[in-house]
């Protein structure tokens, strides 16, 4: 029995649709909840983007509020901080990809090479832990470690004869603090996907390579790495597509007026101007701008990936 026939009859149109639904009902039930989730929470709220062009009034509702054209976009583009916000957001994301993205890959490869199972498990658990510490607590620890007066890092620097550094207040250091603390928080957890990909490699490949006399490094280079390239590329595209989505939670916890120069990003600005000032139109306009750029970036990088490696999201 093929998809198109039932008891020798050719099915077309709606009947065929019903037949297929009946046949795949288990799969449809499984997909139903995520589908409803996406429709309810991702697609339906999208109509809210019209707020970016409206002067939102609670009484009149989203569609009833008066149109203001591009007023909020003009305000954002003419803000003295526009270019700084774009630069900071873009650079934090870029540095994140350059420095944070490879760490879990390297870690996963190293971990997979460890022969002692207990040590492998121990290292993996220890590396996960920071991921499960709440952001507020983790950043509190970072601020304490880096305290210019009594932070452990500055105490060590002083013991070594160096001058203490005000890591938090010095705008020059903010990006490093942000990236390094991000690596510390996430590398263990992010390595899971790569570890899973490595586990999926056919062990016969390694055995054959061993018989052929390949060294450990050669095995990594010629077997492990090529095998996890699809995972790496997909995660890279997803990361690149989120380039302007720098989370504001961590930055709010770390920034001070003295490091705004490098720390203030689009999301923190939206928080100050949109949410704190009840200016939902402005907040939505900046959010929409952010989303459009991200959308464009994901398309560009996806095409690039497809052309260069034949691996892509779609």
């Amino acid at each position: 029995m093929t998809d198109k026939t039932l008891a020798g009859r050719e099915l077309t149109g709606f009947r065929r649709f019903l037949h297929l639904c009946r046949r795949d009902r288990d799969l449809l039930i499984i997909i139903a909840l995520p589908f409803v989730f996406y429709v309810l929470f991702k697609y339906l709220p999208m109509y809210g983007v019209v707020l970016a062009f409206k002067d939102f009034s609670v009484r009149r509702g989203i569609l009833g509020s008066p149109w203001v054209g591009l007023r909020w976009f003009e305000q954002f583009f003419s803000s003295p901080y526009f270019f700084r916000l774009i630069r900071n957001t873009f650079l934090l994301s870029l540095y994140n990809i350059i420095f944070s993205f490879p760490v879990p890959i390297v870690f996963a490869i190293l971990l997979s090479e460890v022969r002692h199972r207990w040590y492998q498990r121990f290292a993996q658990t220890v590396s996960y832990l920071p991921y499960f510490i709440s952001m507020v607590v983790a950043m509190g620890m970072v601020v304490n470690f880096l305290n210019p007066q009594e932070g452990i890092l500055n105490v060590i620097l002083e013991k070594l004869g160096a001058r203490p550094v005000d890591f938090i207040n010095d705008a020059k250091w903010f990006r490093s603090v942000y990236i390094v603390s991000g690596i510390w928080q996430n590398f263990g957890f992010n390595a899971i996907l790569y570890l899973a990909a490595i586990t999926g490699i056919d062990p016969q490949l390694f055995e054959a390579a061993t018989i052929d006399g390949a060294t450990q490094l050669q095995k990594i280079r010629h077997i492990t790495l090529p095998s996890i390239v699809p995972t790496i590329v997909i995660l890279l595209i997803l990361n690149l597509g989120n380039m302007l989505n720098v989370g504001f939670e961590k930055i709010i916890l770390l920034y001070t007026p003295a490091n705004y120069e490098t720390a203030d990003v689009i999301s923190t600005y939206v928080y100050r101007r949109g949410l704190q000032e009840n200016n939902f139109g402005f907040g939505t306009a900046v959010g929409l701008f952010n989303a459009v750029i991200n959308f464009a970036l994901i398309i560009v990088f996806n095409r690039l990936a497809r052309r260069l490696s034949s691996i892509s999201l779609w």
Partner: protein, 552 residues
């Protein structure tokens, strides 16, 4: 791909239909809501309702250790329900996220409580025009017995609670404006060790800090002193700005998003203070204190716990915070000899104000209202509004409600004899004021009056005596934070956030020495470029109303 496009189009169409269905414009809410009174005038009689009435009240959970999160599990709220016959369903949100949570909820316009704490939720007139809250004038007239009594003797507070359109949209929190607010507190034993007294001038202040730095005030043989432990942030810069009085400036902190400190009134005209040479002199001085290691290096990220840590290690000779906390800093200090609460004798003593360059010695009074206000929402059923008003009125100034603030609950935290004499009662091992707070008394996180009587019932005697001697130093701020019109509020919203960001960024960099003071003129010019004069014009409009409303 075509199928995908059709799917997306169908989805978008569905969203639009839901949107249209879900956002029918609401009718503007009526502002006069009280049913005509037929009975005798309301005179504050208990219970507030013959039948039990349930009201929903959303508020934050409080800002300080002197506040308890409202809950029907607490004896004070159980007692208030018993006497008023009004059951409150509390919806509380932590103070730091209250604004975000509530503004989002207001924007959704649904699921509003009956009574809402309007703490920094935006312009009251706008909230009323948006159909969120109602004007309370008529209700106050009929059911605001205790509020009207309060207004009779406090016309200034009434003027500040009245919006430019003549309506009162909420009853607001009144503050003790001239009693031990934010100011430096000096460790008197540290002063004795370095052989210096309470500073009265900028030079003496600087010398005292230098002595604290150089003379090992904690005697541990290490150079770990933090002569002046303080804080400076965009959320509250007053710990540093309070000292600007010594430079003939008046940097009043308006709280929230009102950067009142930008301006002062002199001879009936507003001045942009940050562009004055006096501000340059002040900044130069603070930057020197920082550069000389006289202020804690982490002043931009420090908080109360950090200040307590510096004090408890004996590192801090001086600390800047609410001076009502002086006894807590004293209790934490190594100079405290067995006095558990630090309340019996003074250790950290609130500093007398420094003499200004023109010879005046003063602290600016705090603003009379602090933004916590009880608004009645349009979602409160019309028949419930009189009771809601009576409840607000009663909790604001009703005698039993005042008693709970000051003393807690009879039988639990105090006893009263036949002659009416009150005796404090505390369970074994508890400190009395902390116990009163714990059961729901002291300062509630809703509009209330900060009362001197409440304050006196738990303040150590030495601090109260000191406060009396400091009264001569308090001076009214020249600009008062009366309410903005809706238009002013919208205009400020477009200008102030970027301006504030620039001001705080620049001032912090000057203080930390990241920008040399030689660039002060660039800062002044940049403020003009960024529209400080436009902002000042809006403040001038409000100032003109202030003169009319308050006569000053």
């Amino acid at each position: 791909m075509r199928k995908l496009s059709v799917f997306v189009l169908v989805l978008l169409a569905a969203s639009a239909m839901v949107a249209v269905a879900g956002s029918q414009p609401e009718k503007p809410a009526a502002t006069t809501t009280a049913p005509a009174a037929t009975a005798a005038p309301y005179m504050g009689k208990l219970p507030l309702s013959a039948e039990k009435v349930t009201l929903r009240f959303a508020t934050h959970q409080g800002t300080a250790s002197a506040m308890a999160k409202p809950s029907n599990d607490l004896p004070v709220y159980q007692y208030l329900e018993k006497v008023t016959n009004v059951h409150i369903e509390w919806e509380t949100v932590p103070y730091n996220s209250y604004k975000e949570v509530m503004t989002t909820r207001i924007a959704a316009g649904s699921d509003l409580p009956d009574i809402l704490n309007l703490s920094f939720l935006g312009n009251y007139q706008k909230l009323a025009a948006d159909g969120i809250i109602i004007a309370q004038n008529d209700l106050i007239k009929q059911y605001g017995y205790y509020i009207n009594e309060f207004f009779k003797t406090n016309a200034g507070y009434k003027a500040m609670m009245t919006a430019p359109d003549g309506n009162i949209y909420c009853v607001e929190n009144t503050v003790l404006d001239s009693h031990l607010s934010i100011m430096p507190m000096v460790n008197k034993y540290a002063m004795q060790r370095v052989g210096l007294g309470m500073p009265t001038t900028v030079a003496e202040f600087t010398n005292l800090l230098k002595a604290f730095r150089d003379k090992d005030i904690n005697g541990n043989g290490q150079k770990d002193e933090v002569p002046f432990a303080t804080m400076f942030s965009q959320n509250d810069p007053s710990y540093i700005f309070q000292l600007a009085n010594a430079f003939d400036l008046e940097m009043t902190w308006g709280g929230g998003t009102d950067p009142l400190f930008l301006f002062r009134a002199k001879d009936g005209k507003l001045q942009s203070q940050l562009q004055l040479p006096e501000f340059k002199a002040f900044l130069t001085w603070v930057a020197e204190l920082y550069a000389e290691g006289l202020i804690n290096k982490d002043l931009t990220s420090a908080n109360y716990d950090r200040l307590i840590e510096y004090v408890s290690k004996g590192q801090a000779g001086m600390v800047s915070f609410w001076s009502t906390y002086a006894y807590l800093f004293g209790g934490a200090s190594p100079d405290n000899q067995g006095d558990k609460d630090g309340g019996k004798a003074s250790i950290f003593v609130p500093m007398t104000p420094l003499k200004s360059t023109s010879g005046i010695q003063y602290y600016t009074k705090r603003l009379g209202l602090n933004g916590d206000g009880m608004g009645i929402t349009t979602k409160c059923a019309v028949e419930k509004r009189p009771v809601a008003m009576k409840w607000i009125d009663y909790l604001f100034n009703g005698p039993e409600a005042m008693m709970t603030q000051q003393w807690g609950v009879e039988g639990l935290s105090y006893t009263k004899d036949a002659a009416g004499n009150i005796t404090k009662k505390t369970p074994e091992g508890k400190e009395w004021s902390a116990y009163v707070t714990e059961i729901g008394g002291n300062q509630p996180p809703r509009a209330h009056q900060q009362l001197l009587a409440v304050w006196r019932s738990w303040m150590p005697q030495w601090l109260e005596d000191l406060d009396a001697t400091y009264q001569k130093y308090y001076k009214d701020p020249s600009i008062v934070s009366i309410q903005w019109t809706q238009e002013e509020s919208d205009a400020l919203k477009a200008k102030v956030p970027d301006l504030s960001t620039y001001v705080f960024e620049s001032v912090t960099k000057f203080i930390l020495g990241q920008t040399p003071i030689s660039q002060f003129d660039t800062f002044v010019a940049e403020l003009d470029k960024r529209g400080i004069k436009d902002v000042m014009k809006i403040y001038e409009q409000r100032y003109a109303r202030q003169a009319k409303a308050l006569g000053k």
